[in-house]
């Protein structure tokens, strides 16, 4: 089997996912994809026809990011006609899954150089726009005890005993670390500003962050999912599936859950030979990845089994991992992951996460992977594990190692 190396990883800054003031909202979503796809051959100075596929994650693949946005992105980026493209959807882990699938193609020897990444305009294409049968088809909804993600996150907090203070404290720390990382310019190497069609910069810095957020600030926020859970039967459905829970403690709100933002990311992956031929320097290698399914009602507990599986396949222990990155979809997901895996907060999400930056659904996985490559280099460490909880009860984990 061929090794797969990470040669480059870029991402856009994340814009607020709102039509009224999101900095990336007044251009089509392909503008973000074009920004990162053009950066890869430009930064490393090779011809785009060397790229053998563009795999992009996107979670609401409809409208202007619908109908195989992978190919559309390659075309609008001016890639050679010979470069195909494909869109995939592993919900919140799509960006990471795109990298994993791309890596698998390299490892299998089918391709030598490939792009994996993702994109999501949450301002222009709203969450849920792609529809789907899960919540609407009675057979499916009843059999799997469908509840919205926020209810599932509150169920995790209740079932595993995380109080409002616990989840808020985690959020405050995420904001603190995110601000410190920007202050220290830890992201400078990988963030590509998004320019408009006349070359004027639309956004060059993550704009969702709220540095200096305190516990007191968060204490004023109302739980986001309480009304929905109590009035529309979702709490009761969740309790029927988890009958050891008496009533759900709704602890999550806008300040301790991932933000709604726009963004795109792309990772350049390839074999050692391809790198040599094009004069590219490998930065890290994809050691192993795993995706698993888990109980869909509580939905967001997949990162633990996915991580255990990836570690086992790699013949590694948790102690072999230097840095951990778990997507901050909801605070309780991260608290449970650290507790169950026995991982310390000091080596987890060291530069903050989606609570501060936002979570552009299809792109986040690839963004987190890039963050980890940068941070391993900055700290001169070797290994990192990136994981995300995934809708409908899944989890994806990827282990990388510097070379």
């Amino acid at each position: 089997m061929t090794d797969c190396f990470i040669y480059d990883a870029v991402r856009t800054p994340r814009g607020k996912g709102r039509m009224k003031d999101g900095s990336l909202a007044d251009a089509p979503p392909l503008r973000m994809a074009k920004t990162v796809l053009r950066a890869l051959p430009e930064r490393s100075d090779f011809d785009s026809k060397e790229i053998e596929d563009v795999i992009l994650g996107c979670v609401e693949p409809v409208g202007e990011q619908g109908a195989n946005v992978g190919r559309m992105a390659a075309l609008i980026s001016g890639y050679d006609d010979s470069v195909p493209g494909v869109q995939l959807n592993r919900f919140c882990a799509s960006g990471l899954e795109a990298v994993n699938v791309a890596a698998a193609k390299v490892k299998a020897g089918d391709v030598d150089l490939i792009v994996g990444g993702g994109m999501e305009s949450m301002s222009r294409i709203s969450m849920g726009a792609a529809g789907g049968a899960w919540s609407t088809d009675p057979e499916l909804a009843w059999d799997t005890s469908f509840v919205p993600q926020g209810i599932a996150a509150d169920l995790i907090a209740t079932k595993y005993g995380y109080s409002r203070r616990d989840v808020d404290s985690f959020a405050v720390e995420s904001q603190r670390r995110a601000a410190a990382a920007w202050e220290g310019d830890y992201f400078g190497k990988s963030i590509v500003p998004v320019n408009d069609c006349i070359g004027v910069t639309m956004l060059e810095r993550d704009e969702h962050m709220r540095p200096g957020t305190t516990l007191e600030d968060l204490s004023h926020l109302k739980p986001s999912f309480e009304m929905m859970g109590r009035n529309f039967g979702f709490d009761a459905v969740a309790i029927q599936k988890h009958p050891d829970v008496e009533q759900i403690d709704h602890v999550h709100h806008a300040g301790n859950s991932s933000g709604i933002v726009d963004g795109a990311a792309a990772v350049l992956l390839g074999s050692r030979d391809a790198g040599r031929r094009l004069g590219l320097e490998p930065r890290a290698r994809i050691v192993r990845s795993a995706t698993v399914g888990s109980e869909p009602c509580i939905m967001l507990t997949g990162p633990m089994p996915a991580t255990r599986k990836a570690l086992a396949k790699a013949g590694m222990q948790t102690s072999d991992i230097d840095l951990w990155e778990i997507n901050e979809a909801f605070s309780a997901v991260c608290l449970l992951f650290m507790e169950e895996m026995g991982v310390d907060h000091s080596v987890t999400n060291v530069n903050g996460g989606a609570i501060a930056f936002g979570h552009p659904l299809g792109a986040t996985g690839a963004m987190l992977l890039g963050t980890m490559v940068d941070e391993l280099e900055r700290r001169d460490l070797n290994t990192a594990l990136i994981t995300l909880c995934v809708g409908a009860g899944m989890g994806t984990s990827t282990i990388i190692e510097r070379v």
Binding site: G131, S135, T136, D137, P138, E139, A141, W142, S145, F146, V147, F232, G233, F234, A236, V237, I239, Q240, P243, D244, V245, E246, Q247
Partner: protein, 728 residues
């Protein structure tokens, strides 16, 4: 034609439905075949401009589908392909009617329910008589069924998804005003004007195309694929799943039918509904509910178990002793049925207080528009408070509803004795004291019977009729005549401590205690009971009943044991209740005041606060001396099975011991009286559907694991060995 009369007047073919072999018109295969022939005749007749479908029955158009035909499917497997074909033919006939090219008006002269309303939906206009009894709707869901003649497809297309789902899933029946307001009918008219109005519409409008067959039709409020559709389905899925605990296949099937069918052309939509309709029939739930809650309940309401050959006994005057909660209720329902009531208590003030409570109940109903001032006056006028036993003279029946104390009961029995004639009967509304013992106080034990009413009497339909050793068949027949006159349903029970329904219910509460003592998480104890279909969970009920009451029973048992010189050892459950009261001052949801008269805050197994209640967080810790540590929590499925099994086993023991003699009574009784899960069709139906040998096998394994209370009685073992079932 035998059912549909055909005549032509003023260019309108009038198809009048009158099934002479039935008291009401129902949607049967025969009737529909005739309707189709008549429609074709009208279509072929050039003189006919439009068609009017109406009924020759007074006050009834068509009352519903043919339930007997459904019940005749029995409990065996269903030939789905065959039923699909047969139901498909019904749908095709209705589809043909709405696309026949001539306008069809439903002239609805009264009750238009179920299949009857589905026929109306396939007409181009619905005109209803403006009379209070003319109820309209699709009530199938109330019996665990669903509409099967296009109702789930046409109603949402007519009035919109959200409105239609609400009506169909709750099986709502609407009076004329609401039916018009919600769009179920197009026009209300006086009875005499029904046919003229139909003719007029044909003359003046006569549109022969359904809205859903027009170009550019859209479902009101949004059809399949709209955001409103997705949101409505998402909400309905969760709310219905939550409310039914997944125990009612018809509820999911209705949603599925609408979800899959709404986007289809009407020619194909019906088949989607039929698939779901058959799926509902394939599950034993619908047929079980239909048998128990329709046919068996009807027998209880008609007095099928009343001894034959005893002349009807008309109760004109009833005496009720004890003007407390039960006495008030019994007085209320008796007076409502036109019976004169003597409401007797120790003193006149107490008796009058009782009557005043009845007045208050009636005033609340009046305020809600559920009764009229005349009726209220009539009912109250028939209730005569009294403190004098002489006023009982001339009573056909006396019901005592005094404290559950043998001495007091004996005293009121004796005091009434002299006032009553030999034809009169005396009933005790005890909830569990043996009738044979109580009858000893009477000089006419043959005329003594038990009538176990349930609270609130005005709303609870069921009465346990308890036959003591001495009770005569004539007395039993007379008791039935009273029950039927006050419009209650009865089951006949032979004397035994706790009778039937309370015995079965008691095992449920007691199982909750067993689980608590085993160390099962309180939340799981309560949640599994709810998901088993019990209206209230066991710890919640204990709080409602009052821990003090339970504590008193245990203390009495202790006193009795000590008096008999026996050693007393409280059960862990008794010890827990004693500790809740004595160590923690927790008396339940409605605690008695403290000794100095200050009120006590509510609190028992639960904490109570303004916004609701939650299990007392300290419960497991505080009661740890009596609660086992349990690191292996059972699944909710096992707990659910224990709740159902323990009740079914007690019901079977009652049958074996002759406490009940008819499984239909057994099934109806506990569902109607103590909230045994209706979806099961009752304990005996549950055992049948589970399979006798499978039930015995699983009871044996529960018994081995959790205790001898799960040991199946010999009756069940014998039946299992012989391959028998309760119904067949």
């Amino acid at each position: 034609m035998a059912i549909i009369d055909y005549r032509v007047e003023d260019g309108a073919a009038i198809l009048s439905w009158d099934d002479k072999e039935r008291p009401m018109n129902v949607l049967s295969g025969d009737a529909l075949a005739e309707l189709s022939v008549a429609i074709e005749k009208a279509v072929a007749d050039d003189q006919v401009k439009g068609i009017i479908v109406t009924s020759g029955k007074q006050g009834v158009f068509v009352a519903g589908g043919d339930l007997q035909q459904l019940e005749s499917l029995g409990s065996g497997p269903i030939d789905a392909a065959d039923l699909l074909k047969r139901t498909g033919a019904v749908l095709d006939q209705l589809r043909r009617m709405e696309t026949c090219g001539k306008p069809v008006v439903a002239a609805l002269n009264g009750v238009t329910l179920g299949g009857g309303y589905e026929i109306a939906l396939a007409c181009h206009r619905r005109i209803l008589v403006d009379q209070r009894h003319a109820q309209v709707g699709l009530p199938e869901a109330g019996l665990g069924l669903m509409p099967g003649a296009g109702g789930t497809q046409r109603l949402p297309r007519l009035i919109g998804l959200q409105g239609a789902l609400g009506l169909i899933m709750q099986g709502k029946q609407l009076g004329p005003d609401q039916a018009l307001e919600q769009g179920l009918v197009d026009e209300l008219v006086e009875s005499a004007n029904l046919i003229p109005a139909a003719k007029k519409w044909i003359q003046e409008h006569g549109n022969a195309t359904q809205p859903w067959d027009r170009k550019r039709y859209d479902v009101p409020g949004g059809g399949a694929g709209s955001v409103a559709f997705a949101q409505t389905l998402m909400g309905s899925n969760a709310m219905t799943h939550a409310a039914t605990f997944g125990n009612m296949p018809s509820q999911q099937a209705i949603l599925q039918s609408v979800y899959e069918g709404l986007g289809l052309p009407m020619d194909r939509a019906g088949k989607v509904e039929t698939r779901q309709f058959i799926r509902v029939l394939q599950d034993p739930t619908a047929r079980s509910m239909l048998r128990t809650l329709f046919f068996s309940l009807q027998e209880c309401q008609k007095g099928a178990r009343r001894p034959k050959g005893v002349p009807r006994f008309d109760v004109k005057k009833v005496g009720i002793i004890g003007a407390g909660l039960m006495g008030q209720g019994i007085a209320h329902v008796s007076a409502k049925a036109g019976i004169d009531v003597v409401l007797l208590d120790r003193d006149l003030a107490s008796a009058e207080r009782g009557k005043k409570k009845v007045a208050q109940t009636l005033e609340r109903r009046l305020a809600k528009g559920r009764t009229t001032a005349d009726r209220v006056e009539g009912i109250l006028g028939r209730i005569h408070p009294s403190a004098d036993y002489k006023d009982l003279k001339g009573c056909d029946l006396v019901v005592e509803a005094v404290f559950e104390d043998r001495d007091i009961k004996a005293r009121v029995t004796k005091a009434s004795d002299d006032q009553l004639g030999d034809a009169a009967i005396f009933a005790s509304n005890t909830s569990g004291l043996p009738i044979t013992d109580l009858a000893k106080a009477s000089s006419r034990p043959k005329n003594f019977i038990g009538l176990h009413f349930f609270s609130p009497v005005e709303r609870m339909q069921m009465v346990e009729i308890v036959v003591g050793k001495e009770t005569s068949q004539t007395t039993l027949a007379k008791a039935w005549d009273y029950i039927l006159k006050i419009k209650k349903a009865g089951i006949v029970v032979n004397d035994s401590p706790g009778f039937y329904t309370s015995r079965v219910f008691g095992t449920f509460i007691s199982e909750g205690n067993h689980l608590l003592v085993e160390g099962v998480k309180p939340a799981l104890i309560e949640n599994a009971a709810k998901s088993a279909g019990m209206p209230m969970p066991p710890l919640g009920i204990s709080d409602q009943v009052g821990l003090g009451t339970m504590h008193k029973v245990a203390k009495q048992a202790e006193k009795d044991a000590r008096a008999a010189g026996k050693k007393w050892e409280p059960s862990p459950a008794q010890a827990i209740i004693a500790s809740l009261i004595e160590d923690h001052d927790r008396w339940g949801a409605h605690p008695p005041a403290k000794e100095d008269g200050t009120p006590r805050a509510p609190g028992g197994f639960y904490d109570y606060h303004e916004t609701g209640k939650n299990l007392w967080p300290e419960l497991s810790t505080a009661m740890s001396p009596w609660i086992a540590r349990n690191d292996q929590q059972p699944s909710a499925e096992v707990v659910r099975q224990r709740y159902l099994f323990t009740q079914c086993l007690e019901a079977a023991r009652c049958l074996e011991q002759g406490v009940i003699t008819d499984v239909r009574d057994g099934d109806v009784g506990v569902i109607m009286a103590v909230g045994f899960p209706a979806f099961t069709g009752g304990p005996f139906t549950y055992i049948d559907n589970y399979g006798l040998s499978e039930f015995v096998r699983d009871a044996d394994s529960l018994s081995a694991r959790y205790g001898a209370r799960f040991e199946p009685p010999k009756l069940l073992r014998d039946m299992a060995a012989k391959g028998r079932s309760f119904y067949s």
